[in-house]
Symmetry: D2
Subunit: 187 residues, 4 copies
């Protein structure tokens, strides 16, 4: 069994629902299992023990939650410095109210997480357009679970968005299984 | 009378509708008038004669239309090199199908245009959350007119989005009127 | 006297040096004074009492320091929700080791801060190319103080970068003085 | 033999040098060969016949060259619409004068290209920090060849940057070889 780590922060439970859907997707791939951790609790050991890493965050002020950033600054950065994660696989997802009707800043939120994924030297898994429910599911960078309607009423992430998150988790797990033990990057 | 230039490209007329709404907003401000030009037709002289510049684009493959980029590379860049536009005012807007439900890449599209606005040394005008119809109108960077519904059926930009574009045009025009002739940037 | 708030986080003192240079620039503008606060200490009251806000951060893993993000999530976001800062003026700056020779991710770091500036509804002040020492000073989004040389030896931010930070502070202060009490944004 | 396509635009030959170095890296991987095309000449057939795609551009006004964008808008977008490229591998690189000392906008330039790579559904290959000459070679998103010195004198891309481009090409080729014929994405 190989492991994919899912790290997230959550305020009202929406990003947590997305994280659990991502994990369900990982676990649906033969030979792969998900380890789900809140950003405050995930450790270097969790990262080192995983073939893939998926990081999710609420969109706050058009970028990632500060707790996710603290995890990146205080846990991921040490492994970056030591080149310990190169050649693994990574992905991102977000959740947010979506005020404005265009994702509420989810793209820079995703990219500021993906920055960390790239710095660690992970192969980055996108979200293809033909994914079932993509129409309501996000961006090319990963799934986005909208948690509010147009009037900013909190309605929670939809099943459509959760299904996209599950697909994304499975895609990342398959990519992680494929590259595990292979040498892609030669320094 | 002081002028604000609106430059855009359009495929099916949606970004053009947005451009016209922006222009309507500019013209609604006393003492200000809009000059609306397609990207292929806008010139250095148009830029030099304007106190503000608003650039709009369809979102294609999650960034700006190539015709807008050609305008930036071949017309704006010369004025950048000569420091001719510093201290004026700028803004951006986009239109797109919105596939994925989170703006379809409009944020990087807007930012890759805003990059040019910043390089030219223009004060950048955001889109405040309290703008009427903001809920359906875009992002903090500017108005976004979604032209398709969830099933990618082309329904055209909504009146709500057009009203946001008009407000944005007026905001940029007021900012341009305010800073015209003032010295903000000292090299 | 009108106030511009400078908020920053620092690890080894480089971003702090940049913050102090920005403040020096603000104070050089007649009628304007700087209030300099660490991200952990800046309050809503500080923001409300200021005509302009400049936020600076070390570049960590290619985005802003988590303490700056915590300030944005826990202090700025409340004022965003209440539309309390619309029409003021904002700017950004960063400092970092610059590993890789291309800013080490400072652009997304700057943009993830600028996202917050835009969400708050602040006019955004760029860094024009003709600014003295721009060649060694950063990006169109704002000053960048490189703190290490090519071998990642910590040499500290240069006087050239500090001089750019000072110019930027003065530019933001002049813009803040100009728009103070004016009505640019009509909702 | 499997093919990796290298698409680029160039003004003064610097991005072309980078493209050729990337191609050299691809050709150094057993069983892989590079097809190098200018953006104006690359076709849908070239894309369909390749297991990987690497796109490079000069940095103009802090985003990609308009000719590269035209290739994306008019050639790539059709394959995106038809989901024809999903599961292949992609990478990016840039070249630029680097005015400002922090990459001159290469990050958004790279990301606006990478947007297209992600939309096509390609696994994205980063540039790990431990790559030889990384210190002078770019960003986590890919190689950056600086073509000018601090005084904007045109000195051409360095051998160090070219060596990073070569490593990147080889990394992408190995990733393409690994995923060729494998099923990562299930819609």
């Amino acid at each position: 069994m190989a492991q994919v780590l899912v790290v997230y922060a959550t305020d009202y439970g929406n990003t947590e629902k997305m994280a659990n859907a991502v994990a369900e997707g990982i676990n649906s791939v033969e030979g792969m299992n998900a380890l789900v951790k809140k950003a405050e609790e995930a450790t270097s050991e969790d990262l080192l023990a995983s073939e893939g890493v998926i990081i999710g965050s609420p969109v706050h002020m058009a970028s990632m939650d500060w707790r996710v950033k603290k995890f990146i600054d205080t846990v991921c950065s040490g492994l970056w410095m030591q080149d310990k994660m190169i050649g693994k696989v990574g992905g991102v997802f977000t959740s947010g109210g979506g005020f404005g009707g265009a994702g509420g800043g989810t793209e820079i939120a995703m990219l500021s997480i993906l920055n960390n994924i790239a710095e660690l030297g992970l192969l980055m898994v996108p979200l293809p357009k033909n994914t079932e429910n993509y129409k309501k599911g996000g961006l090319q960078w990963g799934p986005y679970g909208r948690s509010a309607d147009e009037n900013m009423e909190h309605v929670g992430v939809t099943n459509a968005a959760l299904s996209v998150a599950k697909k994304h988790g499975a895609n990342v797990a398959r990519a992680a299984a494929l590259v595990s033990g292979q040498e892609i990057f030669i320094a």
